[in-house]
């Protein structure tokens, strides 16, 4: 095979390999959502709302350590991202600005094969699923270190929009069927002992709490 034939063969092989690779609806929506942010005087550019970081003790597969951002976090003249799911160094980080992203975030988690699901927290939900309400997503990230998730157990994260751009989370676990929604105001078994970091605007730093 001479060089020209080889080049043609490689061109054809590339064309065949990507023949059915097409942008998903989700990607098109994400790209369509790229917009400039309106400048607001005094706005805190670096503020990230409703960020939940969950680290599993067993760690996540090293091969999935790549950053898989649902919408990459970025600053500057663009609009805040709707959501981001980032896996790095065994830590799963979920950022949400709107509960409308629940389905997309959940789909992303399923693809990562991690024992976490995100569901909406709504007033009219008929589920009796018990939750420990974290109420700590306001204006700063939360870090959770649950110390490992037992095989067969699923951690349920319930997302609630408390104001535009701000999502709060509740968390609970189930060994059985995962609810499709979670009602507001239920307390339950929660995650067991875990460490939580919450942004304290007065101290201007993260403060660690143990929740039992």
């Amino acid at each position: 095979m001479n060089d020209d034939q080889l080049e043609d063969a490689v061109r054809q092989a590339f064309r065949d390999a990507v023949m059915d690779v097409e942008p998903s609806r989700e990607l098109r929506d994400r790209v369509d959502g790229i917009r400039r942010r309106r400048f607001r005087r005094g706005a805190a550019w670096s503020r990230i709302h409703g960020r939940l970081v969950v680290a599993t003790a067993g760690g996540l597969s090293a091969a999935t350590v790549a950053v898989l951002a649902g919408i990459a976090a970025f600053t500057g003249a663009t609009a805040p991202p709707a959501f981001a799911v980032v896996v790095s160094k065994g830590t799963l980080s979920i950022t949400m600005h709107s509960v409308e992203s629940v389905a997309a975030v959940d789909a992303r988690l399923r693809r990562l094969h991690v024992p976490f699901v995100v569901v909406p927290m709504t007033r009219d939900c008929k589920s009796h699923f018990g939750m420990t309400y974290l109420a700590a997503g306001r204006g700063g990230p939360i870090h959770l270190h649950p110390g490992g998730v037992r095989p067969g157990r699923t951690i349920v994260l319930a997302a609630r929009q408390i104001k535009p751009g701000v999502v709060d989370f509740g968390a609970g676990w189930t060994d059985g069927k995962v609810p499709s929604c979670v009602p507001v105001g239920h307390s339950g078994p929660g995650l067991g002992p875990f460490e939580m970091e919450k942004w304290n605007p007065k101290l201007h730093r993260y403060v660690k709490h143990w929740v039992k």
Partner: protein, 174 residues
């Protein structure tokens, strides 16, 4: 910048993005061999392009190809810093029919062969033979001398040819 001008630039960007999204995604797939990773890479690429649209709009294709390579390199760099995944279980015997179509098998072989190439050769091959860039355009995107691009393309082609032909040769040898 006036609001009207910003709006028109945003529209320009979105026109470009929707037109070139499939090509960028396919290029990213050839570089990363995973559709999810490729989608994330393309999104990151388009964000970079959007943020620098003033600069990128004069030659958006070149700028986006450069940005895509940069995003992929970031990914490879992160991968190298971390240990490989340890897989458990046994590989299927060679004569087990997995019921995969020829196309799937060929694609897997190409992905495997591409992943075994050095990064530069892989980038050159994708730019030259998927994006159909000339030697000089490839050199511009990679910011390398044309001679380096030519030699990398030649070595990459030979390497790829060798890797893709290896199974046939084994069969013939039997």
């Amino acid at each position: 910048m006036t609001a009207a001008r910003r709006l028109s630039q945003d529209q320009e960007f979105h026109r470009f993005a929707s037109e070139h999204l499939p090509t960028l995604l396919k290029g990213a797939y050839l570089l990363l061999h995973d559709v999810d990773l490729a989608e994330d890479a393309v999104q990151g690429t388009l964000l970079r392009v959007f943020r620098r649209w003033n600069e990128a709009r004069h030659s958006p294709e070149t700028y986006s190809q450069k940005a895509l390579l940069s995003v992929c390199r970031d990914y490879w760099r992160r991968q190298r810093r971390r240990p490989d995944e340890v897989l458990s279980g046994t590989a299927p015997a060679a004569d087990v029919d997995l019921g995969l179509s020829d196309q799937v098998v060929e694609r897997a072989a190409l992905n495997q062969a591409l992943s075994e190439l050095p990064d530069l050769q892989r980038e050159v091959l994708v730019l030259r033979f998927f994006f159909d860039l000339s030697i000089s355009d490839t050199a511009t995107v990679l910011e390398l001398p044309e001679g380096t691009v030519k030699s990398s393309a030649h070595r990459g082609l030979r390497h790829l040819h060798g890797l893709l032909r290896a199974p046939d040769q084994e069969v013939k040898a039997k």
